[in-house]
Each structure stands twice: as C-alpha cells, then as structure tokens.
Amino acid sequence: MKILIGLINGMISGATPILLAALGGAYTFYAGVFNIAMEGMLLTGAFFAVLGSYYTGSWLVGILLAVLGALLLALIFILFAVILKTDEFVTGIALNLFAVGATTYMLRKIFSVKGVFSNAGIQPIPSVRIPLIENIPVVGEILSGQNLMVWVAVVATFLSYFLIFHTRFGLRLRAAGYNPARLDSSGVPSSRMRALSLLASGVLCGLGGAFLSLGYVNLFAENMSAGRGWISLAAIILVNGNPLGVALISLLFGFSDGLGLLLQGYRVSAQFTAMVPYVATLIALYFYAARKRQMKSA
C-alpha cells in the first residue's frame, strides 16, 4: 500500500510540469503555431522562480517572475515568428538554446556558481493540506498534501478545455489553426490569435518551470528541464491537443517517472531508471503511429 501511494504521488508530481507545459502547447497547437520552445520556456521559468523566491523570500514572487520570464521568451517568439515571419522551427530551436545559454550565464553572473544553485533561502511552493480529507486513509494521503501547483494544473486543465471549446476565444483560436485565411477574412487577424496562443503558452510553461525548481525540487540546475518540454510536445501530438487527453497522457508519463524512482529501490542503475519516461514516450508514439496506420488502411 505504501508503495502504491508513493507511486501515485510520484506520478502526480512527475506529471505536473509536463501537464502545465503541454497545456501551454495545446493553445499553440490549436492556433497552428509549431511551438517547440516549451523546453526553453520551462527552463527560463525554473530559473526565474528561484531568482524571485531567493531574493524576496516569497514563493509567490518566484511564481510571478517565472511567468514573466517565460513570457519574455514568448514575446521574442512572437517578434520573430509572428511579426517578422521567421520560420517557427528555427525560432523554437534558437530560443531553446538561448534559454540554456541565458540561464547558465545568469547562474554564473548572478549567483556566481556553475551547475547547480541550491540554498536554504529559496522558498518552496507550499503543499496544500485539506483538513478533513487528510484523515481518510489512502484517498487522504493522495488528495491532501499535494503541492499547490498540482491544483493549479488541475484547474488549468479544465479552464483550458472550457476556453478552447466553449468560448469565442476558442472558436477563433481553433479557426487560426484550421484555416487562418478564413479567420483573416472574417475580420479577426489570425496573427493576433497566434500571438495570444504563445502568450498562454508562456504563462503555463512559466508555472510548470516554477514547479520544477520550487516544488519538484528546491534548486536550480543547468538544463534542469531535461527534455520535459519535448515530452510535452509528444503528449500534445499523441492526443491532438485535447486538454483532457493531455492530462491523461501526462499522468502516464508521470507514472513512468514514479516507476523509475521505484525501480531504483530494486538496484536497477539510476541511469536506466532515468530513461523510463523517454522510453515510455517512444512506446506511446508507437501505439499512436500504429493506430493512425490502422485508421488509414481500414
């Protein structure tokens, strides 16, 4: 039982950053932006979260700065890809590397360290204890005591679903992806929807980054996003962007993350257990491709 609860809790915290980033990517997916900058946005968010939290002693400021930092990246993306019409793939790759370079540079410039910055002064994002529920066995141990950001991710999932499928904004957002010419001719510039989707992406990736450095762990390390942005991209592709599907698939990846931690207890090399989420992505991709092939031939 203990193992199972540990596994579920591991799954939830492993899923949260992927879910937040993937939700951000869902907006750009529907708006028809080939956004591969989630990796960089997560990393930037993680760095600024630590920066804000360490200097002000407030995790809230940390979250705020994380969102602003990721938004800055989104703005650069908008400047180049939406306004100057630079290739989106190129912009994304360059921004990811910009994020790696800039965070490493600032890590040295501001904190004068290489590799990792960890300090007791970094205020983590608190966990939420739910008074009555926490006493219920099993369910209580899962529902209560989760990090605040986990609940933010849950809310963000349903909010995104509502926004994308039931509002005027959503109708226009999806129109920008399906047929931008139609949206343009209806009097709404599709470039505006693309820009908005990138901003949404920035906010959510910023939150995901903040969770990485102030919730999942309590430090900043070079390149700590470790491919989660790419996994979230895979998650979006696998479920065609649907936020509820994104949540499910993120849990799956989170599960493999938790499983990796569990396997370490059985003396499997740490390097192999760390591979599990990436192998899981490949397996998910295999089933996705197989299903697509089947649909084609049926």
Binding site: T167, R168, N179, R182, S185, S186, G187
Partner: protein, 510 residues
C-alpha cells in the same frame, strides 16, 4: 456621377518584384447593378477587386465609396463599410459547422466570452430564411456540396450586412446545372438593392447575368459596356486583343490498339467509404479521353491509383498489356508520362533550378544523365538536356540555372509538359493541364496535346473545364461519386448532357 456607388481612379499595383498587375485603371460601379469584370487569367481583374476589398494595397490611385475617399487596410474594414468578397477558392473551415463558419468574427456571446450557441444558430437560420438559401446551419462544411459552400460564403457576408458583393469566378467550381440557381439568387439580391461585382472569363454567363461589363487586358481597362448592346465575339476581341476561334482543331483519326486498360478498379478508404467504384475503361493509341466530373468525385483517387500513390482495393491497371497494379512508381514512370494538376505541389520544386526540374525521372531512365557507375549525375549533360527542352517547347527563360519560381506560370507548365512528353511514353496522363494559364500558353499546351495524339500516343485528360474537354477529347468519361456514369463519344453528346451526368443524373436519350 452621384449614381456611382464606387469609383476607382488611376489604380496602379505592382506585385513584388516587378509584375505590373494594374496599369492606371479607372472604373465606376453603380448602386444596384450586376457589374461583371472580364479578362483573361492575369488581366488584373482579381487584383482590382482585392485592392478594393483591402486584401492587397495599390501603389497609387484612389477609391471613392458613397462619395467619400476610402482606403481599407484589411478586409475587416471593407466588410464593416459594407463591401464583401467571395474568393475563387472557397475559404471555409471544413471542421466547423455552417453556423460556426458564418458567425466567426462576430460571434454572439454571453458571460465570460462564452459562445451563445443557441442565439448564433437562430440568427443564422433567420438569414437563411430571409434570402431563401436552403442550407442546414448545423451541417459540417466538409459534408456539404461545393455549391452549398459557396452559399455559406455569400451568407457570411450578408450576415455582416454588406451592400456590395464581390464574387471571384464563382461559377468555376459549379456544374452547368447549379449555375442558374446561383444566378437567380444573385438577381434576387440585386433586386433587393445589393450591388454585385462579378469576376469571370466565361463570356456566355457574363452576358446572361450582367447589367454592365468592364473588360480588362494585361492590367489595363479596355472599356465598360452595357451588356444589352454587346455580344460574345466583341467581348472576346476586347479581352484577347484579336479574333478568337472557338472551334476545335482536332482532326479526325481512327484510334489503334488499347494502351491503358482499367479493369474493375475499386478503391475503398477509411470507414469503408468507396472512392472508386468498379471502373472499367480503356484508352487507345491516338485517342484523347477526357474525364469530366465535379471535383471530389474520384478524379484525385483515379490519378493516385494510376500513379501508384494509393493502392487500389481491387481491380487491375494494364499499360500495353502489362499489369502494373502492384508496380512501384519508378516502374510505372517507364511507361507513363504524367502532368499533375498542381505545379507547385506535385509537378515541380519551385525552389530548385530549371534544370533540376527538367531532369526529374529522366535522371533514372536516361543513361546519358548518369556518371561513374550510375552513382554520379552527369551535370554537364543535364544542362544540355535542359537546353533541348527549352528549345523544343519554346520556354522563355534566361538560363537552365534560373530558379523555377522566377518563371511565369505558362513557362513553368511548358517545362513540366516538355519534361513529361520527352519521356516518349505511350501513355500520357494529364490532370488539369491548363489550369490557371493565360490564353496563349493554354493554346500552346492544347497544340502539344493534339500533336501527341497525332503521334499515336494515348492520352487520358482530367479537366474541370467542360469547354476544354469538348475541345480536345475523342471520348468523354463522367465520374460521379467514384462511379463511371458515362462513356460517351464526343460527337454524340452535349455539355448539357455531361453536366447532368456530373450531378448524378442519368443519360438522357438523344
């Protein structure tokens, strides 16, 4: 003067880098008239309308609307002012319903920006009733006919209360039977006070529908005339600048042995939908067989299965008696010349040079293009080969090294047709070989098609243009929902009959 609703004065428009699309054009449109703008492809008629609509911007000139100078930066402003345009290619969102397409951009909402679906649907239904358009607001656009999609486009503008409707070649996608209905709707709109600007190059229609007609040629306005006081010959002369022959140059000729034989060809796709339904036909030496049909009735799949992009579910394809149903594409290309319908998507690489486009397929079949052990490419011979093609098909180009994109549409098509005909295959498959070309290039390509017929090669030509089909074909096949509903010698049929078959009607007894 005050009866003029719109005046465009001295419009000049150059498309970068140096295509002069509008050369000092001045034209007036009156309130409550149907005013047609005619001209060849590239005459500037669409550009003139796009400038009026704010979709593109003139380099100089002024536009007056209701007595005031206007300049629309984007279509949204034009629509708000009361001018709307329906484009040649219908731009709708297939995944959305009819009402979602129509309200997009002016959606009724309630709290928090939540879509008010019920009200939106109701408003759209009211408009449909008001203009008697016979549409289901809840149908998905991907499931409705092309004619219905066009109505959705028009209704989108009426929903926004435009007074001026611009229609860019709306009949190009319709069958002869659907056109009268559109014309009746347009006439009704005019009688209700709307002004209609109608772009076309089909003179019969223009004469039937319009009050006045403006003729354009090579970016200039030739004249504006009353429809009642002109005729087809006169319009054609103004449009082309010389006398035009509307009759065929096809000489009688007896076809020889069959080259292409299609037997029981069937293609079933996702969810069991039948795209090609038991097709049986053959194309013989020295014969041009035209394939008519409303777009999306199996032409695409027919080309794909013939070329090996899609595998048929059952049936056989034979060329010169050899079963090629399961051959790979290269094997087919030894026997089939193929001119696809979309130059940029299937027929060429726009960013490559002319010679790189010219040697495609030849590079595998012509040993002169091979260097050391077939691994290297003989680039010197490639240049020479391209020069031969340029000379033989009178392509206007500075050098074989020029980028393909810099060629005009007509010259691009000449390179593609030349490349394919130089393969010397017995069977030639042409998919919309003259789509989007000017009259000169079109006539040139038609001559080439007739030449290969005279050489005794077999030609299968798919075309959306019934006029072209009747001009060139010996026999006409009609496709409807993947079925062959007609196989008619051209002498024994009429455009009306073929049109009826295209819409799923049955062959009328002659």
């Amino acid at each position: 003067m005050d009866s003029n609703l719109i005046e465009m004065r001295h419009m000049v428009k150059v498309y970068p880098p140096s295509v002069l699309a509008l050369d000092d054009v001045s034209v007036e449109f009156r309130r409550g008239e149907i005013h047609s703008i005619v001209g060849e492809n590239g005459a500037g008629k669409s550009t003139l309308m796009k400038v009026l609509y704010g979709l593109t911007h003139a380099n100089s000139g002024e536009i007056w609307f209701k007595g005031k100078p206007v300049s629309f930066r984007e279509p949204g402003e034009a629509i708000r002012a009361g001018i709307g345009m329906v484009h040649q290619e219908i731009v709708l969102i297939p995944e959305y319903t009819v009402w979602e397409n129509i309200v997009l951009g002016v959606e009724p909402v309630n709290w928090l920006g939540k879509l008010d679906r019920r009200r939106a649907r109701e408003l759209v239904r009211q408009k449909i009733d008001e203009f008697q358009f016979n549409l289901d607001p809840d149908a998905r656009v991907e499931e409705i006919s092309v004619a219905a999609r066009q109505k959705v486009e028009i209704l989108t503008l009426l929903y926004r209360n435009v007074e001026v409707l611009i229609l860019d070649e709306p009949t190009a996608v319709l069958t002869p039977q659907e056109i009268p209905q559109l014309f009746a709707e347009l006439t009704r709109l005019r009688d209700g006070g709307h002004t209609i600007l109608f772009i076309s190059h089909r003179l019969e229609e223009v004469l039937e529908l319009s009050d006045r007609i403006t003729v354009m040629r090579k970016g200039k306005k030739v004249d504006t005339v009353d429809a009642a006081s002109t005729n087809r010959q006169e319009l054609a002369r103004m449009m082309v600048g010389r006398e035009v022959i509307f009759t065929t140059r096809r000489k009688p000729q007896t076809p020889g042995d069959p080259v292409l034989q299609v037997e029981h060809l069937t293609l079933r796709e996702d969810h069991g939908r039948v795209r090609l339904d038991n097709l049986n036909f053959e194309v013989r030496e020295g014969e041009i067989v035209g394939v008519a049909g409303v777009e999306g009735n199996g032409q695409f799949e027919l080309v794909n299965t013939l070329m090996g992009i899609q595998r048929p579910t059952s049936g056989r394809i034979l060329v010169r008696g050899r079963d090629i149903t399961h051959c790979d594409i290269l094997e087919r290309r030894r026997m089939i010349s193929f001119v696809p319908q979309d130059r940029g998507k299937m027929g060429a690489s726009l960013t490559a040079s002319v010679w790189e486009n010219a040697i495609m397929t030849h590079h595998r079949l012509n040993p002169n293009l091979s260097g050391w052990r077939g691994i290297l490419l003989n680039t010197r011979y490639a240049q020479q080969f391209t020069r031969q093609l340029i000379d033989a098909f009178s392509v206007v180009v500075s050098s074989p090294r020029a980028t393909f994109r810099t060629l005009s549409g007509g010259n691009q098509q000449k390179v593609i047709v030349g490349r394919e005909l130089m393969l010397q295959s017995d069977f030639v498959l042409l998919d919309q070989p003259t789509r989007g070309l000017d009259v000169g290039s079109m006539e040139y390509i038609h001559d080439q098609i007739l030449r290969i017929r005279a050489e005794g090669r077999a030609v299968l030509m798919i075309s959306a243009d019934l006029e072209e089909i009747f001009l060139l074909s010996d026999r006409i096949l009609v496709l409807y929902r993947g079925q062959l509903v007609g196989d008619l010698p051209v002498e024994q049929t009429t455009p009306q009959e073929v049109g009826a078959l295209m819409l799923g009607g049955h062959r009328t007894s002659p």
